[in-house]
């Protein structure tokens, strides 16, 4: 059976910016194992000649012409922002002082 360690899950959670309790980390590490096992069953089949896909429909080359359509007004664009200033989205400090 596949398994993911508690630390693997903690790292993934960190990369995804999801805060998790210790209990959740432990619970998910066993659940991830089950998920990986389920997906791994695909590998038991003979897949030679089958192209990997990332889309449920066999579509290719869906594109639009290079034409401008009206955008949102800045008011509408900013309407759901938790904070704004001078028609811009305001976000908390990104980096601290230079080391």
């Amino acid at each position: 059976m596949s398994s993911l360690s508690r630390d693997d899950v903690a790292k993934l959670a960190g990369l995804a910016r999801i805060e998790m309790t210790e209990a959740e980390l432990l619970e998910l590490s066993s659940q991830f194992g089950l998920i990986l096992d389920a997906v791994a069953r695909v590998q038991e089949m003979d897949l030679s000649g089958v192209k990997a896909t990332s889309h449920p429909q066999p579509l290719e080359n869906i594109a639009r012409a290079d034409e401008v359509l009206p955008s949102l007004s800045p008011e509408a664009a900013l309407s759901a922002a938790p904070a704004q200033e001078d028609s811009r989205f305001r976000v908390p400090q990104i980096l601290g002082e230079a080391e």
């Binding site: 579509l59 594109a63 012409a65 290079d66 028609s87 989205f89």
Partner: protein, 502 residues
């Protein structure tokens, strides 16, 4: 230990380069939505649910962006992938509303190309081949404004403000393979490569390629290895290199910084550094606590791009003349000496000079005006020569006016000033300023007689055979005629008048 000099660095170390160039395409609309891409628009006026990443929005790729990228690939001698996909590059940063960037990962649309550049070396003109690993499509990020702190820089800022107008503008990334074997010419080769790319892209008309506006940006990877060694050193990646001159300076600076560390037995840290335009040095960027882990995966919202061979060949047939060939052709057709050709390329005036020549101007005259007087004014005003109010049409007209004898070179310089000051075309400036060559011998004779009467003593010296004294009189006559006379004719008439005809 003192900082090693550049000569000391290259005596011991061999630089290895890797260059990543980002090009903003000049499509009218964004990569995956129909928002406008106008530079300098008011903040957040060019956004929509797709580029703001509002829930449920679906991206659809811009066909023109794919076409432009294929053209770039073809111009860089790349192969075009019959099948390529978009992938999500996952990371969190406020300038990217989706928390992932749509890019391409293991299936770039163009790959395996090269660009040849020529630079002047101790052994004469030498060609270097820069191999291109890949050309792929992605999207630009928004613009941040850092508020608070002393410098407006991200470090020490209290908070930041985001404008997402730029988020989602089509971006093409051109990545070289590692470039070995450039030795002491590494900084110049890198500069020549970026310049060549810029010229190629400009010729393709797929981007504004304005480094100062960020539509062409270069990240320079540099590492050093001991000369003769096969083992690559640790590289640093310098971002924020926004001019051709900076490419050269940044690489030279990093070579010196690496050599200093290595000479002292220290290690080069693999990190991102930011180029400082004012000092020419780099400073450490965000230190990465954890190794980058972008968890790329194919974007399920977008379908594969499979350009038909016939379309690729149609695009190939539209490729313009390669810049290197064009330079060669121009040099031969116009009979330009090496040094002058280099000066024109360096001053970036080839396009405007060629446009001037196509309007009928003599190539040498056209070149002299653009490289001389007009370049000087552009430098004085510290603006790009193409942003001055004088056009190839104006210069062609000016050259014609001088050729027909309506202007002297000296008067033509006044006309150039007038055109640049916005007073109109050369003919309009001539008319408005009342500039004209005094060809009328009668008017000249009157001025000569007047000056000789005023400076009788000097005139007498000339009459007595002391010719150097004539200079002062000629000067006075020129002043009298407000510089509009032909000095050679004045001299001729004056000497005749004083019995010294030669």
């Amino acid at each position: 230990m003192a900082l090693p000099t550049y000569d000391e660095v290259i005596a011991k170390w061999d630089p290895v380069l890797g260059l990543e160039v980002h090009v903003e395409l000049n499509t009218k609309s964004k990569m995956f939505c129909s928002c406008a891409t106008e530079f300098g628009a008011a903040p957040n006026t060019q956004t929509c649910p797709v580029c703001l990443a509002l829930p449920g929005a679906l991206p659809v790729v811009n066909k023109k962006a794919i076409e432009s990228t294929i053209l770039i690939g073809l111009a860089l001698n790349c192969k075009i992938a019959p099948y390529s996909r978009f992938a999500r590059k996952n990371y969190f940063y406020p300038d990217m509303p989706k928390n992932f960037q749509i890019s391409q990962y293991d299936e770039p649309i163009c790959f395996d190309g090269y660009v040849d550049v020529e630079i002047e070396t101790d052994e004469g003109l030498k060609q270097f081949r820069i191999e291109v690993e890949r050309v792929h499509m992605e999207e630009d990020t928004g613009k941040s404004l850092h508020v608070g702190g002393a410098t407006g820089r991200i470090h020490g800022a209290d908070y930041s403000l985001l404008d997402y107008n730029r988020a989602g503008i089509p971006l093409v990334e051109i990545v070289t393979k590692i470039v070995p074997g450039t030795g002491k010419y590494a900084p110049e080769v890198a500069k020549a490569y970026v310049a060549e790319l810029r010229d190629i892209l400009r010729g393709l008309k797929v981007s504004d390629v304005k480094m100062e506006q960020g539509s062409l940006r270069c990240d320079a990877n540099v590492s050093l290895k001991p000369i003769g060694s096969d083992v690559l050193g640790t590289r640093s990646e310098t971002k924020n290199v926004n001019s051709l001159r900076s490419v050269e300076r940044a690489i030279r600076g990093e070579m010196i910084r690496h050599a200093e560390l290595l000479n002292e037995g220290k290690k080069v840290k693999q990190e991102t550094r930011h180029f400082q335009e004012d000092t020419g040095l780099t400073r450490s960027g965000r230190s990465k606590e954890q190794a980058e882990d972008y968890r790329y995966f194919p974007d399920p919202d977008l379908v594969p791009v499979t350009p038909a061979t016939i379309w690729i060949e149609e695009l190939r047939a539209t490729l313009p003349e390669r810049p290197s060939l064009r330079r060669k052709r121009i040099k031969e057709e116009w009979n330009v000496p090496d040094k002058e050709m280099a000066a024109m390329i360096n001053a970036d005036v080839l396009d405007i000079v060629e446009a001037t020549v196509l309007l009928g101007a003599d190539p040498t005259k056209a070149r002299t005006w653009w490289l001389g007087e007009i370049s000087r004014i552009a430098n004085d005003q510290n603006i790009a020569i193409t942003d001055l109010a004088i056009t190839p049409k104006d210069v062609a007209e000016l050259v014609a006016l001088v050729a027909s004898g309506e202007l002297t070179d000296k008067l033509a310089r006044q006309v150039v000033e007038g055109v640049i000051a916005g007073e109109g075309t050369p003919s309009e400036v001539v008319a408005q300023r009342g500039i004209k060559v005094v060809n009328d011998d009668g008017a000249l004779m009157a001025a000569i007689e007047k000056v000789c009467a005023e400076q009788a003593e000097t005139a007498e010296k000339v009459r007595g055979g002391h010719l150097p004294a004539a200079g002062a009189l000629i000067g006075a006559v020129m002043k009298e005629t407000k510089g509009q006379a032909d000095a050679a004719r004045v001299r001729e008439l004056l000497l005749g008048h004083l019995g010294q005809a030669n």
